[in-house]
Symmetry: D2
Subunit: 460 residues, 4 copies
Amino acid sequence: MTTNEMWGGRFAQGPAAIMEEINASIDFDRRLYAQDIAASKVHAAMLAERGIISQADAAAISGGLDTIKAEIDQGKFTFSRKLEDIHMNVEARLKELIGDAAGRLHTARSRNDQLATDFRLWVRDAIDSLDARLVAFQRALVAKAATHAATVMPGFTHLQTAQPITFGHHLLAYVEMAARDRARFASTRACTNDSPLGSAALAGTSFPLDRDATARGLGFMRPMRNSLDGVSARDFALEFLSACAIMATHLSRLAEEIVLWSSPAFKFITLSDAFSTGSSIMPQKRNPDAAELVRAKCARVTGSLVTLLGVMKALPLAYAKDMQEDKEAVFDAADSVALALAAMTGMIGDLKVNEIAMRRVAGEGYSTATDIADWIVRVLKKPFREAHHITGRIVAMAEARGCGLADLTLKELQSVEPGIIADIQSVLSLDASVASRTSFGGTAPDRVREQVRYWQEQLK
Amino acid sequence: MTTNEMWGGRFAQGPAAIMEEINASIDFDRRLYAQDIAASKVHAAMLAERGIISQADAAAISGGLDTIKAEIDQGKFTFSRKLEDIHMNVEARLKELIGDAAGRLHTARSRNDQLATDFRLWVRDAIDSLDARLVAFQRALVAKAATHAATVMPGFTHLQTAQPITFGHHLLAYVEMAARDRARFASTRACTNDSPLGSAALAGTSFPLDRDATARGLGFMRPMRNSLDGVSARDFALEFLSACAIMATHLSRLAEEIVLWSSPAFKFITLSDAFSTGSSIMPQKRNPDAAELVRAKCARVTGSLVTLLGVMKALPLAYAKDMQEDKEAVFDAADSVALALAAMTGMIGDLKVNEIAMRRVAGEGYSTATDIADWIVRVLKKPFREAHHITGRIVAMAEARGCGLADLTLKELQSVEPGIIADIQSVLSLDASVASRTSFGGTAPDRVREQVRYWQEQLK
Amino acid sequence: MTTNEMWGGRFAQGPAAIMEEINASIDFDRRLYAQDIAASKVHAAMLAERGIISQADAAAISGGLDTIKAEIDQGKFTFSRKLEDIHMNVEARLKELIGDAAGRLHTARSRNDQLATDFRLWVRDAIDSLDARLVAFQRALVAKAATHAATVMPGFTHLQTAQPITFGHHLLAYVEMAARDRARFASTRACTNDSPLGSAALAGTSFPLDRDATARGLGFMRPMRNSLDGVSARDFALEFLSACAIMATHLSRLAEEIVLWSSPAFKFITLSDAFSTGSSIMPQKRNPDAAELVRAKCARVTGSLVTLLGVMKALPLAYAKDMQEDKEAVFDAADSVALALAAMTGMIGDLKVNEIAMRRVAGEGYSTATDIADWIVRVLKKPFREAHHITGRIVAMAEARGCGLADLTLKELQSVEPGIIADIQSVLSLDASVASRTSFGGTAPDRVREQVRYWQEQLK
Amino acid sequence: MTTNEMWGGRFAQGPAAIMEEINASIDFDRRLYAQDIAASKVHAAMLAERGIISQADAAAISGGLDTIKAEIDQGKFTFSRKLEDIHMNVEARLKELIGDAAGRLHTARSRNDQLATDFRLWVRDAIDSLDARLVAFQRALVAKAATHAATVMPGFTHLQTAQPITFGHHLLAYVEMAARDRARFASTRACTNDSPLGSAALAGTSFPLDRDATARGLGFMRPMRNSLDGVSARDFALEFLSACAIMATHLSRLAEEIVLWSSPAFKFITLSDAFSTGSSIMPQKRNPDAAELVRAKCARVTGSLVTLLGVMKALPLAYAKDMQEDKEAVFDAADSVALALAAMTGMIGDLKVNEIAMRRVAGEGYSTATDIADWIVRVLKKPFREAHHITGRIVAMAEARGCGLADLTLKELQSVEPGIIADIQSVLSLDASVASRTSFGGTAPDRVREQVRYWQEQLK
């Protein structure tokens, strides 16, 4: 296998071919076309408004850009690597369509501020799309939580049964995480939503621009206050990647749980056919491939964040070509989390719960031991540490007898601590334990239902 | 060299020693002592208020905790690895000081929510400290920018001279970045500032807690709505690390520029003795060690972020011991950026500018070529692309003559484009070029001074 | 809380204090003392041999260095931050001990090549220590595998039961990984084991050094061929961190399995008391804290690798102060994996296997379905894809009957595929399935025992 | 902009569409086709040899696979996402071509070992391609170093002039790094070059395979010893990514230097037109875009490494779908470094050196001060530390006079140290300094030429 076969024949021998290969960005920055055209239209309108170009030229430019937008939308546009990037591809086509007026579009502008503008618009759009997907994810969780507000499952620490909780309560924890993810994207949107347009190459321009007008026209909050910063800042992209990576950790945690819960050792849930892959030989098998891939995407998004943090490290102002590596990292992360959210929303919506298996494991491991200790504190007024110690001896007794805590007789309990009365037995069952956790945010079904209502209201 | 020598003799052979080595966290989580004690005091007061413990016990606990705080402040406290972590070290000492009442402090609480509370308080304090350092950094930049609002320097793209700018303008770009860093920390503070206290082990508790009161008492915005989320969430720490890492990229960019500017090839600035390391053999040498270390810290903070993203990936709810790795990553990142900010603030405040060297390089590379093109568009009303082309020919002529653009005669200019008039010569000097960039955010000294005033106002 | 309290009071206000704080490395590079002293002794002996210093001076230097080594070994040496690093701390003390002759030690040497030498020696020692730990880990695995060569457990894919395997076979997979980890460390050792000593600051020196002699004296393979490379290379450290990170993924996979296997849902194993943390309230609880921490360390080591890759990126030759960040990353990673190996070796050695639980899950999910398909191919000579299809129908029948594959009668089997004969029933049991996997590397107990013997021989 | 527009319309609403989107790998794993087909041919031949399938079937399979290979080579093959991956795409087409015999190919094999085999073959091929590129890179460096063995340039530490060196010496440092990169890839090749084929799904198989034969047939060293390890190991891919990332740090260091050297502040080199991007407006401008992109790729490759380390962390044996994320990370890294090597080789080969600018900066900063100190040690027999001190005073005198060291008179020198004689002046010039560094690996032109010859021999 020769080198060229290996790399798909794209690397020719000559310097020109290598340079085009490493330099051209059109293969990926074409995704910015809608933003690029929108920004150009606003820029041209402002130039005309300020008398920098004629209204007639502005109209021709606008019409030509609309045509190009339609051509790309419909897949009829031929992108050229020779023209390097989306900006030059669009401008070259514009010249074909409207002639010399096309050459006036780039007045008082540079590819540096043009690209920064396009990319901010794209990230802003991506955030809005992701927010909608996060809402859908939250709704799926809340709906399932409503059904299972009182379904008992083991609450794990260290993957050991610690205390019984409800499945609805567990799912709502992810609704909270998603809410913070949404807040993070909202902050990132605010960081992104300032306009670099008018920064020109790096120093601003001598043309009498109306930067407020172009900012407003593109839905930005305000023009950026420093032109060097306008073209060289990529912290909005880094913040976006961070928000994606953090959200991805949340999705990966749920993905891990889905993999565990659907394994034969747990059997807590059954994934729908749609979100499992089967095997013709083992028809009962439901491999949680989608959950595994969501779990893996978390690492992938971290990789993209590391890439861009590394690219931006120690880069002198204002523009350096290194920054061309920003887009693939952002696109790949946005695609990965969008897909992961869709898959996770589907999995949650479709999964079936095996209440019996959940309850069985919830009952193992003396999971109501804390309830005994708390009862001793509350009723017998012992210090917690002492109650803790007494409980330890009760559990040891149950273990020695090979029975559960609820199986111990009052006499047996009293042999450890004479003050114990029959009332204690009310806290030994799983349902009683769960129902007793009534502190705000606790797992008591009424509390869970309260939170379900809160979220249903929020997500209307 | 034996294994034990290699590792400093800390790894004994026995399982117990290995387990203590890997398990104990007191060597680093002792940094949480002030937060741990503050949270315990508020918790005890609330327990008494709700009648869960007596007022007398609460008073004894409070007094004992004050004593412990003073002991640690004064370096008189003996931390024990046997007691594993800060929580047990404090509680054990409390028992020595006040006896059995100490055993009532842990009522309706678990180390899981206690630690989450302490850690959030610590991160909140760290953010407040960092914000103060960011303000100091901004002030140093603005003060230097005020002095150099009209000092001409080369504006680089690709580290090639592109257009002349002013040094003040360049410095203000970093003020903008720092402002966004502050906004990021403010968002992170909001994400951090909810109270997990009362989540108990993971399920909430049956004691009639007043979670609003403890939240209020510790300055939190509100109690967290889900107890599982309360103990298992670490996105606040991830967001903090992200904000640190992004800020560190900004500092590393300035650090890189300081290294470049102080090299003999540039000679743009001279660092003060305080922020250089010398050499007894080369007394004129001023190695920019501090800047280099700031540059490197950026990678280190990225490393910490990667660590915690990796730790949290795919971790099932609620608590897992993996999460003990959260603190060292956060402490190290916070220390690194605090130190980097202090060093950078010092370097900026002290540095001397070599205006002659800056101006010399600013004048190289036909850096006012864009001004010609803009003049042609503005005065001769040619399309930008055509003006661009004419300018190219003018620059080629200057290059052929071996002179600068300002050295070309009107006749020579007219030989390329007959429409050119004497007025064009007004745009060919560095000062004229800089002064012409009057668009909002541009590098014109008046614009720079306007921004200096804006920031002086903001940073009052 | 003031800033100074927050950061432990170490950051004073003055530039000098900040500079010392960021610049001094003695807090961590003191770990190089043994290597630093060994290298200095060899250097001094060579200088004397070449007549560059006198034999008397060399003897005084050597004696003084021995004294310092003993002082540090015994904890009697006072390190000074003012003296910045280990090199200056040692040299200053040497001067106290032997006077002016100390000033001759640094002839034809620079801190740049001195540090590079020390650090390579340290990494080489660390590799040797880690290799010994890897051997211990392999031995623990092989010993346990020998006991469980025929213990049936479920072989998982996607955490779903796929085919029965043996626990011994499973453990031996980790022996293979560890063998490759050892090979990686051996490669890294070779990469590390060249001598930079004699590179001086960066350009070599005019003194008639014998670089072969110092290389030999320190156990290096050869002197490095390029002095710039000698002081600026850190790929040996990056390769070491990579080897640590890759090994850590292996340990984390086993750690994850230990967490799963010891959870109540699986109950495959019981960790020893020594490697569990208990709870006084739930005495049966055995939290696998050590395994969780091993799992987390994997992310931490990745963080260290990312740190150093980021530090070294785009660093011009030869030495830059950024490179001072290399040591903490390497020390932390080495400590983390050394500890993780020790803990894992202990856990494997001590764990108890619950054969009944393993066998139960191994029998679920029609895990011998592949055996049916293979039997049909082998005996009935059908193409595999057709056999696969027939098996699917057999499994569906068992599922419909609610029974296992071994419970189907011959008649029932023949109703799906008339060619089936009684012989097929010999492949339906777990033990028969496992025993049949006799291909080289397969899970058949005889094959597993063969591998156990192979490794016992290798690890003698 | 709706969600679907944003993501290019690929995400349909239905679960099936989401699942296909996340699950299918054919869009990227098609790059494995040559390896997949080669492995299938060897597998089929072995099956026939062992009598597991007929020779006629094996011949039909082999012929069909050849046809498919040709179809894909020629771009005539239609890949289907419904068929998920390269394996099923090939097998489905094989069935179309040769009918039922195609169904016998998968006997005693699983996609798990098939994929592991294909991927190892691909990585092995990639290593061989990269090694060839590394050799070309080394040759370009050595050729340039031969021309510039005596070209004086400043040797930098901290980007401050430290001592004069030669450009040839500097370039040879990268030849050394590349040599170690090649050694790393050779180690990785050895780690990769074991055969997992025959591991089947995870447990081995009951068919009487000849794993030695298939290993041999595919050029592997040996069959892997453990079937679980065979399908679950990805350390070869991690090691490959590490080797790529470490090499990328080397390329990024040289890229940084090229950016610096070609900036107007340095003017040390001129890149060829082929490897610069120009500007029609500033025709003299030569933006080092290719170097900047090489510099950035380093971060990108680190990102890929982080991705796969994160994916593999804590993954239980044997196969999990997460591992599907291995390929894109590896492909992207391999493409990035292949391209970076090609671009760097081209840049080095073409660049022009500006000897005057190099020499000018080399002479700044009293760069021969160390030579004075060494002379004092050598001739006056003073201890190095004392010589160091005397030199400091000489440099201070030159600085005070505003002259270079070579401009000081003997009398002036003797006013600092009376023992100094005229001979010292022989060490004060740049050329004398460089020529004196004759220690092995030093920068003396003869030493550099010696190394050039060594490498010319090695790279024949």
